[in-house]
Amino acid sequence: MSRVFVASVGLVPIGDQWHKSISDLMVEAALKALDKCPWAKPDRIIVGNMFSGASSSQEHLGALLASCLGLKGVPAFKVEAACGSGGVAVHEGYVAVKAGLADVALVVGVEKMKDILTPQATKALAMAEHADYTQVVGTTFISLNALIMRYYMEKYGVTREEMAAFPIIAHKNAVTAPHAQFKRAITLQDVLNSPMISDPIRLLDSSPAGDGAAAVLLVSERYASKENLVEIIASEVANNYFLVVEREDPLFLEATYIALKRALDKTGLKITDIDFFEIHDAFTITAALSLETMGLSERGKAPRDALNGKFELNGEFPISTFGGLKARGHPVGATGVYQVAEAYLQLTDQAGPNQVKGAKYGLTHNFGALDITTAVHILKRVG
């Protein structure tokens, strides 16, 4: 089996891209990555996307991207795992290269969220849950997270103010991230005064809707002598029971736990060996649950640890180094690819003011819905 390397990445700034279609976004990200490696000719294309049908009346994204790039004869297809589509797309690219079925896998994550109105986007996002038993009682994805957030705060006696630590860190890191949707810092008062969406979730507890696309070019060990490579040393995907109410402990992210454990077992690493963590902070509550499930905080203690600086860029375990889902943005099906691209930038010292100095290992963590499908990647600096 081949080793798998990231050879280059391409990032489209996230935001309102009214002037670009979903194919424009995909092509822009892909060309940014391909132009850095003129020697690379993709022999596999994977597109991660959640709801192009609902947002753009467009499916069949794999072949569409290949065709737009002037390619014929390439296995090219879309994979979907809700908000985890991007992480799963990277996994599929990894699998193809690892297995020797591809030498150059182009992985693109894309989402067009701003061509439709908020209620339509809300409906599209709710499709990540079991339609027959959540949508019919009026639940949206945000309200589901709100139920879990209140449950968490109640169980561990965590205050509203403490929870706000996570969006504040995310926004702080996004200030100097060129591709971030919100390049501005926020204060505790900003969080507490932001509009209520689904009590206790306020606007600034929630990742924003945005258009975006990111690309990573994965290559086999045939190209191991090329410059600026980062190795993917683990790529794991796991599922959890679909409905949160089916789970013994709704505050423990079992898919995250299993995928992470496999990744660590296969690499022989401990969680504390990892230098930074791109976590799935779609909501304030998912940041807390992710860090606690990963063992970076004790149960119920992540918000307090965040307040004490543990997860800052210069802290013990830096998270969301370019702003995470909250502030870099969360174009849902693209997010997992942004994370891997960001880990690549960190591990090739191209992160600018966001650089985690001397980072050797980076972890990305991306899930669909609330930890229903979870992809974990560990990347390692080469040389």
Binding site: P119, V137, I142, L147, R150, Y151, S198, V245
Partner: protein
């Protein structure tokens, strides 16, 4: 909401009918195809108890399109007396009176209706027990 999909499951929504494993006795709502506890495929439809308590709740100000006319909607995470957890709307209650631990009972109510004047969607909601 897809009318036929709702119609197909209507009895489950009306009476909270899930299922029960004939082998180990574990109860489920929503129903499952294979028992998650013992792996048996031998399950029978089973009506959930109607009483439970609120273990979490939210006031949703921005619901999906079908529920817009009823915003804000109150949603509860309810633990039924058999231990099964379900999510459902809370009704006949003032926002300020909702609290964790509150005892509730499932009742049949209108959830929403087909926008084109078609089907009215009925299902369970939870009301406080005095």
């Amino acid at each position: 909401m897809i009318p036929i999909a709702f119609w197909r499951n209507r009895r489950r929504y009306y009476n909270l009918i899930g299922n029960k494993c004939k082998s180990c006795g574990k109860e489920y709502y929503p129903p499952v195809h294979i028992c998650k506890k013992c792996g048996s495929k031998d399950l029978v439809d089973w009506e959930m108890p109607k009483e439970g308590k609120v273990i979490s709740y939210t006031i949703l100000l921005e619901p999906a399109e079908e529920f817009k006319p009823y915003a804000p909607i109150y949603l509860g995470l309810i633990e039924l007396t058999n231990g099964v957890k379900v999510i459902g709307m809370l009704t006949d209650v003032r926002k300020e009176d909702i609290r964790i631990g509150m005892k509730v009972r499932a009742t049949l109510r209108k959830l929403t209706e087909d926008r084109d004047g078609g089907q009215i969607f009925y299902g369970y909601k939870f009301v406080p027990v005095e």
